[in-house]
């Protein structure tokens, strides 16, 4: 190994591990910590490393602001509905991709990637025209449809891999014991594929909840969700307002993280992206 002998010295690798963890946590967490501090700052000027004075006055402003309240409401009546619709239309498709043979199976599966590959802003021009004709501009269902686009890939690919991983022997055994096809699906296939479906639903919710560009074009001025309001807040208000709003906007994702972390690490996400 010559001059790289130190790679195999345990002490060196332990020290490298410490350096890595320190660098990674600084890189990932310091920007977020900055926002967290800004949310409670009253005055924070360079070159002070921490705020000179703290205050909760901006929290009052944000929490009692009508625009913020309405944005929170719109976010929470769109994203969960989008996730539910995505599940209803995509899960049967995922099962079909996993179990049935039909013409164009592989092509259709991969074509879902187009939903991620065409720059969204280029589509919105054409979608807006379509929505104008269908009277969907500025409506609740227009926003739901536009947010649905970003959930398709995750909601089909990841559950399809989940269905793939259910052992056929188990289903066969249940069938041999006299269970009908629906019974087999409900009591064997679905529960075993559930972790992958949870990961997919979770990613779909985040995608819908975070969608800003399409919602801005289709929804405004009637329907303003939290991420679209964020653009306005960042530009027009002092730092604490954006920081406080960021905390509110991240809260749902963080709560979901704590619930779904176990499943995320189990490889269901990666399995979904490995094609077929």
């Amino acid at each position: 190994m010559g001059f790289l002998w130190f790679w195999d010295v345990p002490e060196f690798r332990r020290a490298m591990g410490l350096v890595l963890v320190f660098a990674l946590s600084s890189f990932l967490l310091l920007p977020l910590l900055t926002l967290l501090l800004w949310a409670f700052a009253d005055e924070w000027r360079y070159p002070s490393v921490v705020p000179q004075s703290i205050s909760l006055k901006w929290w009052d402003w944000v929490l009692t602001n009508g625009d913020v309240g309405s944005a929170v409401r719109y976010s929470f009546i769109t994203a969960p509905v989008v996730t539910l619709i995505a599940a209803i239309i995509c899960l049967p498709a995922a099962y079909s991709f996993s179990r049935f043979r039909f013409p164009g199976r592989r092509t259709l599966f991969i074509s879902l990637l187009a939903a991620n590959a065409f720059p969204k802003i280029g589509l919105y021009v054409a979608i807006a025209t379509l929505f104008f004709r269908l009277n969907l501009m500025g409506t609740y269902w227009g926003v739901v449809l536009i947010q649905l686009v970003g959930t398709l890939v995750a909601m089909v690919w990841i559950p399809a891999a989940g269905f793939d991983s259910v052992a056929r022997e188990l289903e066969d055994a249940a069938r041999d014991a006299g269970a009908g096809p629906l019974r087999v699906f409900w009591s064997i296939t679905l529960p075993l594929a559930m972790p992958a479906i949870i990961v997919a639903a979770f990613l779909a919710f985040i995608a819908a909840f975070d969608e800003a560009q399409g919602t801005l074009i289709v929804g405004s001025p009637t329907i303003v969700t939290m991420p679209t309001l964020m653009y306005t807040l960042v530009v027009n208000y002092p730092e604490p307002v954006g920081a406080i709003f960021s905390i509110l906007l991240s809260a749902p994702s963080v709560i979901l993280l704590l619930i779904a972390r176990r499943f995320l690490l189990a490889g269901y996400l990666a399995a979904g992206f490995k094609g077929r």
């Binding site: 967490l29 926002l35 079909s96 802003i121 589509l123 979608i127 560009q213 960042v234 995320l264």
Partner: protein, 310 residues
């Protein structure tokens, strides 16, 4: 793990059965494909036709735009005008350049983290295992905003470096600011993807290589990298597609001139009322993304046909 084609259902697989299976299968995949057709394929086709100079008279957004090129037969005039503009050319090169640099950095950082989580021992890898997921739960608007407040000139990082007496050049509103934020944002997906590939490499294989005297780097270069090639290609293509078409990160933390194409498209459409050049730029980006998508399709189909594991 994923099979090439679905194994035959039980029972006799005669013609009628297969037709029935195909019909049910197609019916079940129809809804998401319909959404795709209605909201992506159709608008994308309209946009492409419009960018070729054919202006639909019933589309007011399209037909009242400034700088309109109208033609009865398809023409590439919009594209040649675009590419003749030095500003657009700069935007395009900046976009490709930022995307490539981001992709390479994401791959390197994610690979180091995935290797560490997979092969490291002790409690530190467990910390990394929780840490690298953090950006996945931060909406991209907030990630960009956090990056600005942290990296801006006379911001927090400047203050920290000032306190320890180090010089600081802010990356905010520069290409490097976009790259830093893109790396930050793309780490979780990349590490999850690479990590699941590494999980498939058996510990015994590594140990037996060690036993015959292979060092860390030899094992990495000769065993781990070749066995983990497909997840790496997936990470490269998906990160590339994500960065090329990105809007929020370059909009909030990127440079103004030249700017990334995602921001330029938005400006041409909303601020300059020039939908035709905007749409043509989107088609250009799509062509670039499609090329990257082809790499993904090639890599996954090849591995799913030949490999036993993946």
């Amino acid at each position: 793990m994923a099979s090439v084609s679905a194994p035959p259902l039980r029972g006799r697989s005669d013609r009628a059965d297969r037709l029935r299976e195909a019909a049910i299968g197609l019916a079940m995949v129809a809804p998401p494909i319909a959404v795709l057709l209605f909201l992506i394929v159709l608008p994308a086709l309209q946009a492409t036709i419009f960018s070729l100079g054919i202006v639909p008279s019933d589309n007011l957004v399209f037909s009242t735009g400034q700088h309109l090129i109208k033609s009865d037969s398809p023409t590439l005039a919009v594209y040649s005008d675009l590419l003749a503009s030095p500003f657009i050319r700069d935007d395009l090169w900046l976009t490709i350049w930022i995307s490539l640099v981001s992709v390479v950095l994401v791959a390197i950082v994610a690979y180091v983290l995935a290797l560490y989580v997979r092969f490291g021992s002790g409690s530190l890898p467990r910390i990394v295992r929780s840490l690298y997921l953090v950006p996945m739960f931060v909406p991209v608007v907030i990630a960009s905003y956090a990056a600005i407040t942290f990296y801006v000139d006379r911001g927090v990082l400047a203050a920290i470096l000032h306190a320890v007496g180090l010089p600081f050049a802010s990356p905010a509103y520069k290409p490097s600011g976009v790259v830093i934020t893109q790396v930050w944002f793309n780490i979780p997906f990349a590490v999850l993807m690479l990590g699941s590939g590494l999980d498939g490499i058996e510990q015994e294989l590594i140990e037996s290589a060690h036993d015959v005297g292979a060092g860390f780097l030899t094992v990495l270069w000769r065993i781990v990298l070749p066995m983990n090639m497909v997840p790496l290609l997936i990470v490269l293509t998906f990160t590339f597609i994500g960065v090329v078409g990105s809007f929020t990160i370059p909009f909030l933390i990127g440079p103004n001139a030249p700017q990334m194409m995602g921001v330029a498209i938005q400006a041409y459409f909303s601020n300059y009322n020039q939908p035709q050049p905007a749409v043509a730029m989107a088609v250009l980006l799509f062509a670039i993304c499609a090329a990257a998508g082809a790499v993904y399709v090639w890599a996954t189909s090849r591995s799913n046909k030949h490999a036993v594991t993946v």
